[in-house]
């Protein structure tokens, strides 16, 4: 029996590139099919009936027709457009970073409903928050968890001894924390404060709402950002392009 010609799915649009005169190739993340690429015809014309329903960072219900190469989006209806994200430059930039992150870490047609839920929940949290950074960190940590890169934060990843309540080290290469002694001998490891370690441990094991209740000062936020950024760069073997833009926005908002 052949597969049906059309199918329906929920999806979040994470990337789109121009195709031909008025079309786009979308990269969408779905609960049942993972990441897929699909063509959205005519979406760059003002009167396109798909247009706004398949904009980046939009949660939609889609009808797709199987194509020889790429599938074709035939109908689209918005479920949540996350307008509060799109109306605010700071939130929007973080949203685009998340989209690039998930696109870089996932392969096509690998289903992961939990990852879809995480992305959806993160976009909801990002719509409501006034402090975007913890939302991003929680997303990064749990994305890595989902993909099998969960950092080991309980024991030293080298000598396996219990960590002392002291300054320890984080090593992207070892995928976790090194104790005071082992960390000293590892030039690539960076010191990690006790508070940072506590927050990361908590975020690995709690839900979003609980995670967002933690109060984090600017210094700690910046330490957590650096730890996660180094780890992600090590895993991807590249720096995500949107980080340059995020850094610039942050630097400029500090000046004002």
């Amino acid at each position: 029996m052949t597969a049906p010609r059309t199918y329906q799915t929920e999806a979040i649009v994470i990337k789109r590139i121009k195709l031909g005169e008025a079309d786009r190739i979308l990269t969408i993340y779905t609960p049942g099919f993972g990441k897929i690429k699909a063509v959205a015809k005519g979406t760059r014309r003002p009167k396109s009936k798909l247009g706004g329903h398949v904009e980046l960072l939009t949660h939609s219900r889609l009808m797709l027709a199987r194509g020889r190469n790429l599938d074709l989006i035939t109908q689209a209806q918005t479920i949540d457009n996350f307008l509060p994200i799109k109306d605010d430059l700071d939130r929007l930039s973080r949203g685009l970073y998340m989209a690039e992150l998930i696109d870089s870490f996932t392969g096509e047609h690998i289903e992961d409903p939990q990852l879809f839920e995480l992305l959806l929940e993160t976009l909801k949290q990002l719509s409501q928050t006034t402090d975007c950074e913890p939302v991003l960190r929680y997303f990064e940590l749990n994305l890595l968890d989902n993909l099998g890169y969960r950092p080991q934060l309980q024991h030293c990843t080298d000598c396996n001894s219990a960590l002392k309540p002291d300054t320890n080290f984080f090593s992207p290469k070892m995928g976790g924390v090194l104790c005071h002694q082992c960390g000293f001998n590892e030039p690539m490891a960076r010191p990690v404060s006790l508070n940072a370690l506590k927050v990361l441990r908590l975020w690995q094991n709690c839900n979003f709402t609980a995670a967002m209740k933690v109060k984090i000062n600017r210094e700690l936020a910046s330490e957590l950002e650096q730890i996660m950024r180094e780890y992600i760069r090590y895993l991807l073997e590249k720096q995500l392009k949107s980080t340059t833009w995020l850094d610039r926005l942050k630097a400029e908002s500090r000046q004002v």
Partner: protein, 203 residues
């Protein structure tokens, strides 16, 4: 390219290859165009060759608005009849055409040559932001009209420009975003409809 270079003359294969690089032109169309030119009158072919050569040789960017022009400053920037206190920000030179076609806008333009697109590594430094700020600092401009596309990157660029220009105390406006003329309400997405409601006008 499937052209057999041993049986076909070199100038022909070369032109087929060049045509083949153009968007929307496959190997077959490239062959058809080449053989068409071979049979056309010499004058027509020379005119085409001339037009192509001029495209690059005679055109530059206007030093004021950065539109593509054959005179510097361009015709719009030189025109004293136009309103030099208004400046309309567009993404690409091609966006000026539809705005001029409306015959409603008599101000000047500024072409950014792209939009902010973080995941492609395109930020303000890759675009003509510096030129815009310099221009706003030394001119009589009182209103800046943001005409970037009503999509995610266009909005991001508009929001960033608004943040950047706010300290200069220039009036900043954005093209209305709502329903296109001749469209059906049924197919409108929620963002478009929300904007249309926000921007509704008394009649």
């Amino acid at each position: 390219m499937s052209t057999d270079s041993t049986s076909t003359a070199e100038p022909i294969t070369r032109l087929i290859e060049e045509f083949g690089k153009l968007p929307g032109i496959g190997p077959k169309s490239a062959q058809r165009l080449t053989y068409y030119l071979l049979r056309s009158p010499a004058g027509e072919v020379a005119a085409l060759a001339d037009a192509i050569r001029n495209l690059r040789e005679k055109l530059t960017l206007c030093s004021v608005c950065l539109n593509i022009t054959d005179t510097d400053p361009c015709a719009v920037c030189r025109d004293s009849e136009r309103d030099h206190t208004k400046i309309c920000i567009v993404e690409e030179p091609i966006d000026i055409l539809p705005l001029e076609r409306t015959k409603k806008y008599k101000g000047l333009y500024h072409v950014l040559h792209g939009v902010i697109s973080p995941s492609d590594g395109i930020g303000p430094d890759e675009l003509k932001f510096k030129e815009l700020l310099e221009r706003l600092n030394n001119s009589v401009v009182t209103e800046m009209i943001l005409a970037t596309n009503p999509n995610l990157e266009g909005e991001a660029t508009a929001m960033y420009l608004q943040r950047l220009v706010a300290p200069l105390h220039i009036k900043i406006t954005r093209l209305a975003r709502g329903l296109p003329y001749g469209a059906d309400l049924e197919y409108a997405d929620d963002v478009t409809l929300s904007r249309a409601l926000e921007g509704r006008q008394e009649m």
